[in-house]
Amino acid sequence: MIPLILSLLGAPHQDAATHTLIVTGVGGEGKYREAFVQQAGTLITNLIEEYGVNPAEVVWLAETPALAPDRISGRSTRQRVVTELQRIAAGAGPADRVLFVYIGHGSDAGEPKLNLPGPDLGATELHALLEAFPTQLVALVFGASASGGFIERLQGPNRIVVTATKTGFERNETVFSTVFARAFGGEAADTDKDGRLSLAEAFEFTTHEVARLYESDNRLQTEHARLSDSTLARRFVFVPKGARSVSVVDDSAGAALLAQKQRLERDIESLRAQRETLEPNEYDRRLEELLVALATVNRKLRERAGVPR
């Protein structure tokens, strides 16, 4: 079934662009070099193919561009990262969004840093660079070991910071980035089933799956991811490429249906809030009544939009 996204649900503004900068750091060993490239490649593929991110707005910097020459834009040196961020800042509209993802090793000897070929890039310098995005919603994802300290250094208005570890002391190799890339690879991370994936959902998926991986391997979990602002992260959404949108209701019947749908959704929310005060059977009875009504309205809306069952 193709997801039906209704404009009333608040899909991202159609004109806003998402500028994506993916940076893979220095590997140190061949296996990490390849792993970082593979994780970044998967993430980019998923963003483009699943969520329709414009390839022209995606820049990938890596330690060894030769590993994927047709996709990697350049070497991930400190200077190049700085240049790309400055370039994005110069070209971004006030309502645009920025997604910055770092995949690689990290370190924190008093200041969290990204381990790049040549000089590292520290949180202080990154913080200064981010000043160039005063109005844009900026999401920064650090999938590195010892990355926890970035949250305290970089959090601010219109800014979401995600780190793979809780603090700078979690220094072991992480699996965060592998799982985070997978979050964009299907519907599994869309837990509220509204057809869109928010950064908050991607984060929840990742933390959940990381914990499960450690548990199934009977290993002590050595990474605990953090998210700076879950409210903002719920607003940073990705809409599936194939989603259909009913954005305009130009007749009274359609408007009535949408209004009915909205009312039912509010009623369901209200019922869910009362859950603790109701007997389980009574709760289910009322919920079912509302859901049947909602499902019926949705069916009619889909029929009007020509979406098959």
Binding site: M1, E204, E209, I268
Partner: protein, 865 residues
Amino acid sequence: MSRLGTMAATIAVICGATLPLACQQTQAQGRDAGREAVRTGDYQRALAILSTLARSPTATDADRFALVRAYRETGRYAEAVETASQFAALDPIWHVTLGELAAIRGDLDEAERHLRTGLATEGSLAIRSGAHLGQLLLERGRREEAKRLLVNVIRGNPGRDGESEDLAAVAAALEALGTAWGEPDRFREALRMYDRAIAADSSNLEAQVALGTMFLAKYNRPDARTTFEAVLRVNPRHPRALLGLALVALAEGRAEGDDLLGQALETNPNLVEARVALATTHLEREDYAAAEREVSKALLTNPASLPALTVLAASHLFGGAPAAYDTVARRVLDFNPVYAEFFAQMSVLSARNRFYQQAVDLARRGVALDSISATALAALGLNELRVGAMREGRSHLERAFALDPFNVWTKNTLDLLDTFDQYGRLESDTLRVIAAPDEVDLLGPYLMELGEAGYRSLAARYEYRPTRPIQLEVYRHHPDFSVRTVGLAGLGALGVSFGNVLAMDSPSARQRGEFNWGSTFWHELAHTFTLGVTDHRVPRWFSEGLSVVEERRARVGWGAQLRLGFLMAYHEGKLLPVSRLNDGFVRPSYPEQVGFSYYQASLVCEMIEMTRGSDAINRMLDAYRRGLPGPEVFREALAVEPEAFDKEFDRWFVERFGSVLEAVAGADGGAFHRELQRGLLSEKAGDTEAAVVAFERAKELFPEYAEQDNPYWHLARIHREMGRLKEAARELARLTALAESDYAANLEEAEVLEELGDLAGAAEALERAVYIDPRDPALHERLAVRYGDQGRWREAARERQAVLALNPVDRAEAHFQLARAWFHAGDRAAARRAVLRALDIAPAFERAQELLLQIRGISPQGGLD
């Protein structure tokens, strides 16, 4: 006689009674040497010197005590008594020694007479007599009188300036009070007092042995071991220190316990406690006749030894002689009418022999005799838990813990019980599963299916129907399982059956591939039947063997299989004859022996079925139920002498595995090993055809070999790479039929079968993998799809429930898929419940909304379907 001993005798003759100064000096040197020999355990030499010199007019008390000690420590009690009696005229302190010696020999009246004589005096003599007499009266059940005496001993504490022996006597009195009246603080005081006694005289080995024994009694094995070892560094032949160290080793399940007991008895063949310990090891091996023989020797020395009589009673009870048991029990109670320890020990021994309900009944009798017996209360509580009486068990354990907080078994078990509130339950008429809530959800449906199928199958085979529901406890953490079963962490087993209560590790307690939790449950369930049908009299080897056979019957691939190590053990003569197979379980002599014994026992059961029919198994079980000793069971049920059966099994084994035995014989691992290596090397070199030939040959030589680097796995991989999927599937099928815990092989087989379009076969392989490790949601999703493909929607629903139990991040989708499976399975009510949960999480979930409308029968036109 030693050289010095001869010299000492000569000195005595030459010097005669006149004792010129030179002779006196020489005698003094000889006596010094004699005392030193006693101290260091050279008893023969000591006796050679002191038997003459200690009687000379110039001899000191120390010389005389050393002589009597040498007699005593070597078990020559009659000579010790005779000698001490001669010295008694010199000093009344000898009444203490004579009292002790009389007690050792079971002459309790004589012991009391001597000790009361000592008690009538003052100072050291009164303290030591009082301590011994107090303990003696306790053994005779005269508790109040004993208490008065022991309290007086403590009041007479000589303080810091007291002699070491007096301080040790006070310590012993404190310990006795602590034990008999459940006063934990007394042990702490006793410890301080023993320390003072040892500080006052570091050569007082008796105080050190007493301290070590108290440590052992209070479950502190590390300190007990250190203390006994310190004594043995001074005197390597000290019989009671050797005994103490042996008891530590036996308690820890270490093999040197038997050897240490042997050393103790070599020094003192009449050491009653060592004989009792040895007899107890025979009891644990279920060799009741040997236990009786051994304990009879102890009773020759001390016919009033309550621990010896207790073991004798146990050998009668478990050996099928209830009348003899009653006689001994009466004898014990005649000596001490409130001897709760008898029933406590009988309870512990009953539990070790798997008579759990009997253990409860016996412990209860102990508590009735002495309501503050911590050992009886602990035995009662632990065994009530084993038979499923959880509330009563907990209550008794709490009482036991208040009286004896040092008991780690009690403490650990109470700690575990504190967590039980967090456990979940799933119950049918047949089975009650208790586990962590998420594990109940995950494992429960499979366990219920297995439980129902197992009950039906086993009830039919053994013509016995255990009381239902059978309780199964599944522990996520192995130490919890271990505490539940033996009270301590460290048990190596995967599961245990107490009869109608089973406990086992959950898959989360172990690494993937370490075990198969499905077959483990089935194994333990089979015990419920073999234990129940024999009133718990089935010997361990037979019950284990049958359980393994039942695993193999239950599912393809389940149950222990032939291993290379087993064949090596055969070649090395390390396998036990059937008549002694029980030893392989209860007292293994090398680490792998338990595992080998499981497999061997299963072979014995298979051989009996093959050569004498399946009825023979039930005839044996019936004979065990009637209490026949093992050899009699073989004679009656199989018409064969045990020794003849040993030989018959050996012939059968060689006939069945002769070619395999030959293939693995030789220092280089035999032809099998050579072919396997050739295959591995060829594969590595890329010569796959040569590898196939070598692996095929290895397979032919040892078809049961399914361990790491087995030929099936390599052949399957080669065939798959070459696109020969059918051949790959065949090899994998052989492998998964041999290796019950090979997760990777089952997944590989499922993939290959899917590629071949054999979806049913793939589902079977995936289901086998679930019983190895059910913790991967992707496995259940895959299996659910396979079942859905085949229209097996109930099974698909079970798999979808498993996904949910694994707490997937996408819970709405998981509920929806479960609803879908129930809907297709025709269970609309279950489907409705599940889809509501999906939509409760995600009201906008369109596919779930549609399913809800379908479940409600609402057609696209708005009407009802």
